[in-house]
Each structure stands twice: as structure tokens, then as C-alpha cells.
């Protein structure tokens, strides 16, 4: 499989609200700091991490929803390579049909004064405004087709968003993202605002659409079980950096970074016979505007040594396709999701 998206040394800085006497920001917060990864065509890469780890900023910056302060983002398309970071704002608008986004809150992301048909067709009309030749019949056919693939009926297109439940609204948002037939879709917490019984509908829908339309996903979520369910590979972020990256199974079952280990141990298993042995992290997440020296995780890491406080580890390959940013990645024997759950009983629930 060839890479569709290549991100190299990407950083995003936000200015702090405090200003100096000259009106310049006093400091900057590095929300994303020197991050590199790639996603193959047809693949789903999961991006996990806690709030403030920079995962949403990273997702947005890949589409230039926020401007990167350094680094490069490239899309490899059949017609050639597109350097997303170098596009002018006009070129960017045209290029947006290659990459789209699905947001967390379907109550906030749909305009209440537009019908579903207008919402879904808007990206097509915007592209027509940029010179794409599309007539009304083509737009209509395209909207009906994508709406049906997303589980919406033809008569529902006449209605307004308020008539729909959370799960159906998310279907509308997905249809809007897919109407331009994009290559890459960034899904930012697409299920976390939904009820449990509806989450499964949306996860399965995303998987079906990926297969039928050949989509590539960057799937941002904090629900580790949902990520395991849909992702081929996973990147774990902590304070703006990727600390571990690899195939889902390896990252979950044989983690190489102590933060991943702690994260895996913290997920409560829906099984009363699985005894959880959580690794309770010391303290809270440090202030991202003033990250700890050396390894950013060392203040909460139970394996940290003096070296960790002074030298920052780099992300390096420690097993087949598995990368970790830890000085001791090859020496430590960390516990994976399965070791951290002791089963008193091997019967499988349900």
C-alpha cells in the first residue's frame, strides 16, 4: 500500500493570551510539537490521547483548519503529489475536496436553517463556484446517492436538522463530508457525543463506507475500545508529541511506552469478572505551555530515571513497524491490555 498522507515535522503553536507591552504574545503553547507520521491509502490511523494532548489540533492542522507553524503535509494523489502546506488560500479551497472532516458534535456542526439536502450539497456548490462543471441534475444525483449510502432516505432530505436524533445528524454530517468523494477523512471524536446504542451504528457505517468508497481515515478518539475496533494502526499522543505509533494489536498488547501502558490499564472492561489492575499515574497532566524538560512524561512515569529528566527521547522503531519515544523502550517489559485484566473465569460474556 502506498502512502496517501505524509506529515513531516509538523508543529502548531498557539500564542498565549497574555501580551507584552508591545502587543506581542508573552509566550507560545506548542499544541503539536514536531510530529511525523504517514497514512497509507485505505488505512485507518487512530489518534488517541487525553484532553490537551493535541490530537484535535493535529487533525485540524492536517487539513489546514489551523495553520501549522512548521513542517510539511503532503497528499499523494494519482495525479501527483500535493503539498498541502504550500497551497495558497484559493488553491487550498479547491484542494479541500481531497480531504474532509467529521466533527464531534452533530448538534453544533449542522446549520439549523438549512435543509438536509442543502447541507449535503453545499460542498458541491462551493466546488462549482471554484470552476467545477456540475449541473443541478448531477448535484442532485450525487446528494441522493451519498445520503442513501449513509442510511438517509430521499424524503428525509427535505427536512431540517432539528427533526433528527443525534445518530441521524451524524449520518448527515458524514454524508456532507463524503459528497465530494474525498481521499482522506479526518474523524474527530465522531461517536463520543452519541449514546451507546447509536455509537455502534456509526462505527459500523464508517467501516462500510471505507470499504465501498475506498476511504482513508484519521480517526481521533479517546475511547480506546472504539479505536481498537476500527483502526489498523494507532498513534498515542502526550502533550503535543507522538509517544508511540504502531499496528493496533502491537500497541495495545505489547506497548513500548509507559504512557501507553498506563492508558491501557485505565480502560474499565465491561466484564465484572475481569479484575482491573490500573496503573495509577502520579499527579495530573503538566501545563502544556511549560512542558517538563527531557521526556515530557517523566514527571508521571514510574520507570523514569535521571536521564529522562534531561534528555528528550526520539520516536524510533523498536519492533516491527512499532515506534516509541522512550529511552528504555527496548529494555522495559510493559504490560498490555490483556495482561492488565485478570480473568477469574474464561467464559466469554454474552
Amino acid at each position: 500500500m502506498s502512502d496517501l498522507l505524509t506529515v513531516s515535522n509538523l508543529s502548531v503553536r498557539y500564542p498565549s493570551r497574555e501580551k507584552t507591552g508591545w502587543g506581542k504574545p508573552k509566550s507560545y503553547v506548542s499544541a503539536v510539537d514536531d510530529v511525523s507520521f504517514s497514512i497509507a491509502r485505505g488505512e485507518t490511523l487512530g489518534l488517541v490521547g487525553e484532553s490537551g494532548s493535541g490530537k484535535t489540533t493535529l487533525g485540524l492542522s492536517v487539513l489546514r483548519g489551523v495553520e501549522p507553524s512548521a513542517g510539511r503535509i503532503q497528499l499523494t494523489l494519482p495525479r501527483g503529489t500535493l503539498d498541502v502546506t504550500a497551497l495558497s488560500s484559493k488553491e487550498l479551497r479547491r484542494a479541500r475536496r481531497h480531504f474532509q472532516m467529521i466533527f464531534q458534535d452533530p448538534y453544533a456542526s449542522l446549520n439549523p436553517r438549512m435543509t438536509v439536502r442543502d447541507i449535503i450539497s453545499e460542498p458541491l456548490i462551493a466546488q462549482r463556484g471554484l470552476g467545477e462543471s456540475l449541473d443541478r441534475a448531477m448535484i442532485n444525483a450525487r446528494v441522493v446517492d451519498i445520503a442513501q449510502r449513509c442510511g438517509l432516505s430521499r424524503d428525509q432530505l427535505r427536512r431540517f436538522p432539528h427533526a433528527f436524533s443525534g445518530g441521524q445528524r451524524q449520518r448527515i454530517a458524514i454524508a456532507r463530508a463524503l459528497v465530494l468523494n474525498p481521499d482522506l477523512v479526518v474523524c474527530d471524536e465522531p461517536i463520543s457525543a452519541l449514546d451507546v446504542s447509536i455509537q455502534a451504528q456509526i462505527l459500523n457505517l464508517l467501516a462500510e463506507l471505507q470499504e465501498s468508497l475506498g476511504l482513508t481515515y484519521l480517526f481521533i478518539a479517546h475511547d480506546l475500545a472504539a479505536v481498537a475496533y476500527v483502526c489498523d494502526r494507532v498513534a498515542v499522543m502526550y502533550l503535543g508529541q507522538i509517544v508511540e505509533l504502531g499496528p493496533t494489536r502491537s500497541v495495545y498488547f505489547t506497548p513500548k511506552h509507559p504512557y501507553t501502558e498506563a492508558l491501557m490499564s485505565a480502560v474499565p472492561e465491561p466484564d465484572p469478572d475481569a479484575t482491573l489492575r490500573p496503573i495509577l499515574l502520579q499527579g495530573e497532566r503538566p501545563d502544556p505551555s511549560n512542558p517538563p524538560s527531557g521526556c515530557r512524561f517523566h514527571t508521571r512515569c514510574r520507570y523514569a530515571t535521571e536521564l529522562c529528566a534531561t534528555a528528550a527521547p526520539t520516536l524510533r522503531e523498536v519492533a516491527n513497524g512499532q515506534f516509541a519515544a522512550c529511552h528504555y523502550a527496548t529494555e522495559l517489559t510493559l504490560q498490555g491490555a490483556q495482561d492488565l485484566r485478570e480473568r477469574k473465569d474464561e467464559r466469554v460474556a454474552v
Binding site: H222, P270, A337
Partner: protein, 338 residues
């Protein structure tokens, strides 16, 4: 209903309705459950199931448009006295003497449940000063002791800080301290970790478990997260559209669920172990009914794979019991008997 257990709380056929113009819309119907000393009962449901309203009604904290229309909420004191919360009304000395003293409550969003203009210490000490008429110094001393117990570093200095200086996890710890300062027999926890990160969530759950064992209080834990239920609860009650559809010991509910909704819910949740097992999650078709337009009969029948029409659409399903496992479903008799 009166079991030979050391119960802290008995809720009997409680109904809550929304008053709208001259009509009343039932929101919670005929729910019954009990909690024994030191027990954790999880009230599980999706949004709109009525689980949070049930929790609020226990403290008479329902907003004006909502009212308890039926049932009893019996709170048992250690000396054997019984109080019916429903009879106390929403205002007055009688209910105020119970709120915060014999029942503590913690909420999902700790920022909105603390006042930003008073210090953490003042807001925790206040509870003891009102209920137990202790001096300010004594109340502060006890507040500091509790902050230490919930794991806040440097508790004496923390007393003089403001809620916004605390992180989300710290605020949730402070809220637990405030709920526990009078040593209530019952703690109501309404989605206490939903706004927190997983690593912080596991710290808070661990803390709640420790405090429960140490202080012996009962916890009513309201959540939609089946993982938390499995790890925290002794017993579970599953709510759907204002009714309890199934309840029982946690192992029975997870191992031998009977109600089609409970079964469907368990099959809809992905698990970490799924990577290897190639288990497919199965969504529940359709969506949760609108409270103003609920289906007749069994509320779950339009989404139920095992529904028998017209039977399920005509009358509410009968309730079946097997020991402490209860289910309201027409299939209850044969399924529970197995």
C-alpha cells in the same frame, strides 16, 4: 418490598411527570429499587432514560416543571428511623436537614457545582457548619482532613484556593470531599467521571472504592458506561425510556442478561479484547423514543429483535423475578428459568 436487609434506601413505585400547560407527561414510571449499607447500585441508561431525574428526585432537587406524582422514597437512619422523602416536599427545614447530611451528591461537571467566588475550603466547611453547627475552625479542620483523604496534596493550603485554580480531577476530588463531610449514609454519584480523562477517571474510581470500604456508605452510581458498571457495581438496574427494564446482581446482568435491550446494549459496546476475537459489535436499530411520543406497551418493542406483535405493543410487559434478578419482558419467565 421490605427485605431482611440492612437497607439505606428503598424507592417504591416512583413516578415523575412533566407538567405542561394542563397536561402531565410521565417521564419516569413506577421504578423501584433498594440499596443496602455499603452497596453500590449502578443505574444505567442512555440519555433520556430518566436516570439523572431519578437521582435528582431522591434529594428533591427536581426543577419546577417536574414533580413526583407517585411512590415513596424511604431513607433509613442508623437508629432504625425511616423518613419518606416524597412527603417532605422540595423546600423547608426537613429536606434541608437531609440534603448534604444524610445524602451527598456529586455531579458530572465539577466546575458548575462550585461557586467561583468562594474558596474551596469555605464551600466544604459550610456544609458541616450548617448541618452540625460546628465552629468555623472545627469545620475547616475537618475540611482539610477530608481533602487529605481524597488525595489533594497540601490540603491546608488548598482550603484557601478557588475552584478554578484546580484541574478537573482535583475539582472532582474536592466535590467528593464536600459530599462526604457530614458522613452521609448514601452517596449519589451522577456520571462523576464522564468529563474526565481515562487516567484521571481510574484515579477517581479507585478513590471512591476506597472511601466506600472505609466509610461503609452506599453509592447510587449513575452512568452510561458499562465498563465502569462492571468494575464498580454490586447490583445494576437498566433503565430504558423512564422504566427499569432489568435489574440484578452485576454478574447476572453481564453473564445472563435477559431483557433484549440489556443484551443488545452489551453487544453494542466494543471491548479492548476484540482485536483478536474478531467479535463484531451489533448496533441497536432505530433510536431512543421521544418522551412526548413513547410507544405503547413495551417501550422497547419497535427496536426489539424478539418482539411479539401485537402482544408487546398492547400492554406493558409483565415483571418476572428469579431471586434478586428482575426483568420486565414477555420472555422473562422462560429466560429467567433457564
Amino acid at each position: 418490598m421490605a427485605e431482611a436487609r440492612d437497607n439505606v434506601l428503598d424507592v417504591e413505585t416512583l413516578s415523575i411527570a412533566l407538567r405542561q400547560d394542563d397536561a402531565t407527561v410521565p417521564i419516569v414510571e413506577d421504578i423501584s429499587f433498594s440499596l443496602a449499607r455499603g452497596e453500590v447500585l449502578a443505574l444505567v441508561g442512555e440519555s433520556g432514560s430518566g436516570k439523572s431525574l431519578t437521582a435528582l428526585s431522591l434529594m428533591q432537587l427536581l426543577s419546577k416543571e417536574l414533580a413526583i406524582t407517585k411512590g415513596r422514597i424511604l431513607l433509613h437512619a442508623a437508629d432504625g428511623g425511616v423518613t419518606d422523602i416524597v412527603g417532605l416536599g422540595a423546600n423547608g427545614r426537613a429536606i434541608e436537614a437531609i440534603r448534604g447530611r444524610r445524602m451527598g451528591m456529586i455531579f458530572q461537571e465539577p466546575m458548575s457545582s462550585f461557586s467561583p467566588i468562594h474558596t474551596i475550603g469555605a464551600q466544604i466547611a459550610e456544609v458541616a457548619m450548617i448541618h452540625e453547627k460546628v465552629t468555623r475552625e472545627e469545620a475547616r479542620r475537618r475540611a482539610a482532613e477530608l481533602l487529605a483523604k481524597v488525595g489533594i496534596p497540601d490540603p491546608v493550603r488548598a482550603l484557601d484556593r478557588y475552584p478554578q485554580e484546580f484541574s478537573g480531577g482535583m475539582r472532582q476530588r474536592a466535590m467528593i470531599a464536600r459530599a462526604l463531610i457530614c458522613g452521609p449514609g448514601l452517596l449519589i454519584a451522577d456520571e462523576p467521571t464522564t468529563a474526565l480523562d481515562v487516567t484521571i477517571q481510574s484515579q477517581i474510581l479507585d478513590l471512591m472504592r476506597k472511601l466506600k470500604n472505609e466509610l461503609g456508605m452506599a453509592i447510587l452510581f449513575i452512568t452510561h458506561d458499562l465498563g465502569i458498571v462492571a468494575q464498580m457495581a454490586d447490583r445494576v438496574a437498566i433503565m430504558y425510556s423512564g422504566r427499569i427494564v432489568e435489574s440484578g446482581p452485576v454478574r447476572d446482568i453481564f453473564r445472563r442478561p435477559v431483557h433484549p435491550y440489556t443484551r443488545a446494549l452489551l453487544e453494542a459496546v466494543p471491548r479492548l479484547g476484540d482485536i483478536d476475537r474478531h467479535r463484531k459489535i451489533r448496533p441497536i436499530a432505530g433510536s431512543i423514543p421521544n418522551i412526548f411520543d413513547v410507544p405503547q406497551g413495551c417501550r422497547f418493542h419497535p427496536r426489539c429483535p424478539a418482539a411479539q406483535l401485537p402482544r408487546c405493543a398492547e400492554a406493558p410487559p409483565p415483571r418476572y423475578d428469579a431471586g434478586r434478578h428482575h426483568v420486565s419482558c414477555i420472555h422473562g419467565a422462560e429466560e429467567l428459568g433457564r
